[in-house]
Symmetry: D4
Subunit: 249 residues, 8 copies
Amino acid sequence: MKSNDIKKLLKMVANGELAIDEATAKMSTHLDFGEVKPDTSRGERLGFDEVIYGKSKTVDQITNIASKYIESNLNFVCTGLDEAKLTELQKKFPNFTFNNEARMMKNILKPASRKMSTVAIITAGTSDMFVASEASEMLDICGIDSNIYADIGVAGIHRFFSVKDEIAKADVIIVIAGMEGALPSITGGMFAQPIIAVPTSTGYGAALQGFTALFAMLSSCANGVTVVNIDNGFGAAMSAIRIINLLEK
Amino acid sequence: MKSNDIKKLLKMVANGELAIDEATAKMSTHLDFGEVKPDTSRGERLGFDEVIYGKSKTVDQITNIASKYIESNLNFVCTGLDEAKLTELQKKFPNFTFNNEARMMKNILKPASRKMSTVAIITAGTSDMFVASEASEMLDICGIDSNIYADIGVAGIHRFFSVKDEIAKADVIIVIAGMEGALPSITGGMFAQPIIAVPTSTGYGAALQGFTALFAMLSSCANGVTVVNIDNGFGAAMSAIRIINLLEK
Amino acid sequence: MKSNDIKKLLKMVANGELAIDEATAKMSTHLDFGEVKPDTSRGERLGFDEVIYGKSKTVDQITNIASKYIESNLNFVCTGLDEAKLTELQKKFPNFTFNNEARMMKNILKPASRKMSTVAIITAGTSDMFVASEASEMLDICGIDSNIYADIGVAGIHRFFSVKDEIAKADVIIVIAGMEGALPSITGGMFAQPIIAVPTSTGYGAALQGFTALFAMLSSCANGVTVVNIDNGFGAAMSAIRIINLLEK
Amino acid sequence: MKSNDIKKLLKMVANGELAIDEATAKMSTHLDFGEVKPDTSRGERLGFDEVIYGKSKTVDQITNIASKYIESNLNFVCTGLDEAKLTELQKKFPNFTFNNEARMMKNILKPASRKMSTVAIITAGTSDMFVASEASEMLDICGIDSNIYADIGVAGIHRFFSVKDEIAKADVIIVIAGMEGALPSITGGMFAQPIIAVPTSTGYGAALQGFTALFAMLSSCANGVTVVNIDNGFGAAMSAIRIINLLEK
Amino acid sequence: MKSNDIKKLLKMVANGELAIDEATAKMSTHLDFGEVKPDTSRGERLGFDEVIYGKSKTVDQITNIASKYIESNLNFVCTGLDEAKLTELQKKFPNFTFNNEARMMKNILKPASRKMSTVAIITAGTSDMFVASEASEMLDICGIDSNIYADIGVAGIHRFFSVKDEIAKADVIIVIAGMEGALPSITGGMFAQPIIAVPTSTGYGAALQGFTALFAMLSSCANGVTVVNIDNGFGAAMSAIRIINLLEK
Amino acid sequence: MKSNDIKKLLKMVANGELAIDEATAKMSTHLDFGEVKPDTSRGERLGFDEVIYGKSKTVDQITNIASKYIESNLNFVCTGLDEAKLTELQKKFPNFTFNNEARMMKNILKPASRKMSTVAIITAGTSDMFVASEASEMLDICGIDSNIYADIGVAGIHRFFSVKDEIAKADVIIVIAGMEGALPSITGGMFAQPIIAVPTSTGYGAALQGFTALFAMLSSCANGVTVVNIDNGFGAAMSAIRIINLLEK
Amino acid sequence: MKSNDIKKLLKMVANGELAIDEATAKMSTHLDFGEVKPDTSRGERLGFDEVIYGKSKTVDQITNIASKYIESNLNFVCTGLDEAKLTELQKKFPNFTFNNEARMMKNILKPASRKMSTVAIITAGTSDMFVASEASEMLDICGIDSNIYADIGVAGIHRFFSVKDEIAKADVIIVIAGMEGALPSITGGMFAQPIIAVPTSTGYGAALQGFTALFAMLSSCANGVTVVNIDNGFGAAMSAIRIINLLEK
Amino acid sequence: MKSNDIKKLLKMVANGELAIDEATAKMSTHLDFGEVKPDTSRGERLGFDEVIYGKSKTVDQITNIASKYIESNLNFVCTGLDEAKLTELQKKFPNFTFNNEARMMKNILKPASRKMSTVAIITAGTSDMFVASEASEMLDICGIDSNIYADIGVAGIHRFFSVKDEIAKADVIIVIAGMEGALPSITGGMFAQPIIAVPTSTGYGAALQGFTALFAMLSSCANGVTVVNIDNGFGAAMSAIRIINLLEK
């Protein structure tokens, strides 16, 4: 609740227009589903309701939460679902939409209005596609169009140059890479837009489950590259949305 | 060099308006100072010339580079200078401007035009001020105004709330915190703007020289927070500049 | 055996009231079940008999130990049981009580007397519930009432404020959080009670299986927060019990 | 500010007894010294004003803060001062009290009332004394008496037994150990009181600057041992104070 | 081949008693089974033939090697076998001896002569038993008697004291502990014999899969404790055998 | 595309012999299979077409790529296939050649010409054979003969000496070792050829899944040993091929 | 105090030959110098009085302890002294003996009787000499002769073979190596004696300040190699002394 | 000593042409300077005598070794010398040649014959120059010419392209980069020659003192890139020499 709104309430209390207990109740900004308390102010703030992270929840927990969202007529989005969970949940919620490559399910009751800004999503290899899909799907839910440029990693740098002009048209660039994570450095040195780098857990041994790419991106010699958590396509999309919200304000 | 410009050159070559050797020369986009090769396309791209990172260079190397920048009439900015280097360089370049808290020196010949967008810089503790100063100074060089809100960490969360309305007016938020690095999570949950988190090396033992704050920020439960390297106020500013450049386009 | 008791025994030996061999036997303070040697002095000391940690034991080992506890008429509590073990053990010990969310089984023959002090258990997310359950169950076994305040993490800090007054009534606070582990810092800055922080393995990538939360809690800028091992709801309860035992003495 | 106090203010506003701006001002719970904002509610909460951590601050920053504390007539305590800083500050503040072993300086204007509860501080070796001193000094500032039992580590366990009865009389036990950090396990197995373990950076190689002791204490087979950051004697004292405040309520 | 034996061969060559090619052949000290080349000099050196480490080998590889040992009439010992491999191999080699707790199989054709020296094997918890079994079994194969003292960890230190006199009779002590790995420090402070510490992977979170115990043992404040790899009961036995071989020479 | 070729194209454009759009098209050096973009210039450069890394791809992805290679009449090689994938793929591509020990499948339409240089592949233990097989198979695909010398690790150093003269005949030496990774140091001290060391994930506990061998090889006291990623037999072969290509030029 | 001695005391108490308070006093096995409590039972147990580790103590603390040892007429040995401390202490204790290479000082009042067993100390490089010196000096203090074989690392393995026969005569072998730490594997494969490996902090980058050598030694493919902490020449000597004490019993 | 030479000696012994003791002496392949034992076979094998690593040696140790090399008339090369050591040694050995940027000193009595093959040395930034210098100096000592291409890192990839054709002429490529270490991937994707990557400790925070670059290079998506230790310009040169020796054979 904003400072101005608080002042308004205080004035109403001062004027006797509002009971003190009611004033207290009005400060509540979340639903209470017991163990889950969706943040309803988020929709206002970022343009979509709270998203459920499915990886650390059981199918029972997810089912329970989804049911409450249905009852409350809220948009429902759940990420991080492995194949087993997707299969089980598909049976329980046949009306929901499932994107297996993005490891997501959704039930969109109130679609977002389409934005004018666009996002370019670049991946170093085909093994990074699941992260790109998650980002792309999440952007779409928020009304933002994106293009994926897959498998254009640095070892064959001419592949990158062939799509350079297309990428230049986007407002924000998301760069996804595992292994040595070098792609954001090249990208940062070539484009002026905001760049969000996503390390992936692709690779083995010295790739350290994505930490080598993470640290490489944080150490990038290109200026102004920012980074999100390993495999976090969702977070990259959220970051792009914050920028685009600002842009379209 | 953009694809269109290449096409133009090709047409000129095709028309005999341009010699082949000259066409080759025109593709050069950097100065060559021997061991240093400033990227002149960067000024065009990001709005400022290449910045020198002084930490891993000797005073002799920095002096040498600065002299070449003076000869070439380029803006010169050098970051990451410890007290000893600042003292020595101040003697060698008495006409340059020094910001000891930000650990920078600069020689601005062509000031950037002022931008309309602003940045809020938040720090958890007073020990994080040197990073905030570096970010603020760098933004100023690029024509962007910023306000620093210092020492409003999470252990006394009411301090944060008292400046909440002011922070809400900025276009981009930079959050700087060491130790447990919790401030970006709170900030992300409260504001809709793009948020750039900077972990600092403040703390001891389990603070892991800033890695605990870094990992905490990457794992933030707040959506769309992006992160730069430890103590990297410069990088946070660069990231903000990319967003503001987009905004003011 | 306390120094005074030893003196008493020595006096009895001096007076010929006790044979030397008998004196030796009296110093034994544990049962000997072969590979397991329950510490019978613990019951006296902490108010409950030794608890078995089931995670690193086979079903056969647990069955064997439980049988000996039954024979010896001792309270039996076993923690850290995954679903497979719970299912198998439920068949073998149908009279025992099972708490699947807490991953525990118990057979309480002599219930603890109820204490007057209470504990507030706070969790950042729903994925931390299994740790909260373990703590709550263990406190209950020792006669202590607790309330769980779930899913009130820092990204939606207003959820926390809505239960602030209730939490303030508890004597000890247990704070459970994964990912960036920021909740104990907020809690420590707001309450004066003893605070026991439990990092959980919730999260991925930079969350480092709970180590980011662990290190963040140890680096907390809030004063006097103490920490136990990752996912260690049992240990947090034990620590609370030590404080409450002191309080009720 | 407590919920009840807020209600009171609201009533006063409702009754026209308090202007809205004044009501806002009354919610401020911190002083604003610019880059430092001492938390005045802490004194009320924990029984002492905010303590300055000197390690990550320059002598100039500390001098500046101390001067403002003097002006505001506040108790001033600063920890984590190395020998060089202590020497410089001793010249600047000759009226302050310095404890070089504890690496602290203080200026106590309003001494705390003495508490009845006591703390036992145990150290494994003489190299851990500086941490014990910091804890002891901090407890004393808050009105709590403590005894230090030094150099009674596990390799000569009989030394421990000789002071066992004395330790048993304390209300809270702080155990300080570096290297393998085994002392808290022994202590936890022998006493029923709350136990706060402090790992120290004593040792070399595999001692990992205190992380081996830290992890060992977190993995302790003794029940209910809690842990604070490496070398954090201050934090251990704060944790003991929270328990004793509860006890003396 | 020892220097003296080489001299002998050289003399025989000098005297024409040995052909040069034969001399070359005599230098061969290993059998060649293709991908496996058992070291036949080891039996001479350490009192037993080479032992196969089964963990990183497939059942086919083990079967193949075992068959060649049978053909060559060599003692066969294989360690590190999980339950699945043990079951499969038991079917293939019904005449071999299997010790499931020790995760070993053996086929002893030429039993070792019994030694007079003995080994005490101490474990902190019941979860460490599989390591103790491996050590005990391996010692037995080499003709050495050992006693296991299980579950006498430091949290109930009186359990340790009750078997102190028995342990004192052994020539070498093997101490096995997971979690905080404190037992070797106590043991080292109490006995004068050679002490071989074995960290185990027992524990979770901060126990770091045995690395906390490993580092704690290496940092032990007790003098002259030596350490082997995590869970390496075999290596501890081998080290004890080297000492006992020296003793019985 | 080489600088000279670009000059040629430019001349053709200048002479009107080539349309500008066609010139653009000629710069394309990769096929575009959508999510996969094989680098056709690689065959020219290194003597074989792009190799697919199967570990991070699903069977569907691999099947899809393989089909496109068949259509395009390209040599197809896929590495890093576990048993389950090998079994599935064997059914889908019965005409391909499978090497289960090397974890590879291939479909060679245009075999490489045989080279004169040879490679010696040394392994420390039998558990390292899968890496040796991968290297050997990959060399064979590129027309290079190799010999594997298995199980000649440093603990039985005489085994190494018995094949020393044979190894000395090879042009390049690949040394494969897990655990302590000592074999490259011995090898480097004995031979003058280029030496490529491959750490393997063989071992447990302190072997750190191959990182101990990796770090040991990087720290080798032998001069001029180079290292590739853990278990990376493919990379070692590629490195040898670069050297042999140079040699046979 | 041994069980038998306790029984004796109990009998004396039973017979009235010993007062209860005196019996208590007789159980004291340590001197109490305040912050230092030397373990007098250690001399009996291991053949020398407690050794002071100087690295984590100030010159004042060491001076204080040394003075008390002089007063008590005890052998004094202090290790881990850097050059600055050695210089200062040499002035304060001109009658003590200093070994700068070993970083030790000593004041031996009652020399140990000479033992018949000997120790071979092997180092990989000259940079490891300070550790070898510490071990050698410590062995000498305990009456044991040792020979140092320096700079015979694995990259020039023939150097090792030239001293093989001499090493074979020793009863115990201490192997000291930094960098890749391969020497213990070779040694373990060649000799039957007890082998104590000491990793050193020699090397850079991937040598990880001695941890690569440490982990390599723990992972050694040679059987029965035991390991002590990094740079811990003292601990290696102590371990050898335990073995030799057993041997000479 | 090669197998053939051994056979020759054996024949001479057989023929009575050589005494047995003399035969033994002839097997010695190293000089013995006490604590240093230079490997004289190395000169034969790799084309230069043993090089001294100065970092872990004192000025006294280096002086001592250098003097013995002078007496023995051997080429002397010492690397890893910091400024303080260089200054001191310059005074002691005024006739030696010093290269401060490469941190080396040398005394070449018998210069190597010049080779025909050349090496390209590429650096990402000017801060990597000291490593490039070390490699270049070492190659020169061994008779190999090299060119350094400095400051052509990936963030300004056009700088790289401008020297592409020159680099293509070299026989071996050494690529030196710190921070994210991306340059070897680009290089490997563009050239067919052997590529030796050297990570440097340039960078801060997430650059992990060179480990991020090291792991990135090991994880490179470019085929056949090999890696040496951090900052190890010497090792890279040695590896190039092994390849060029093979080439010029």
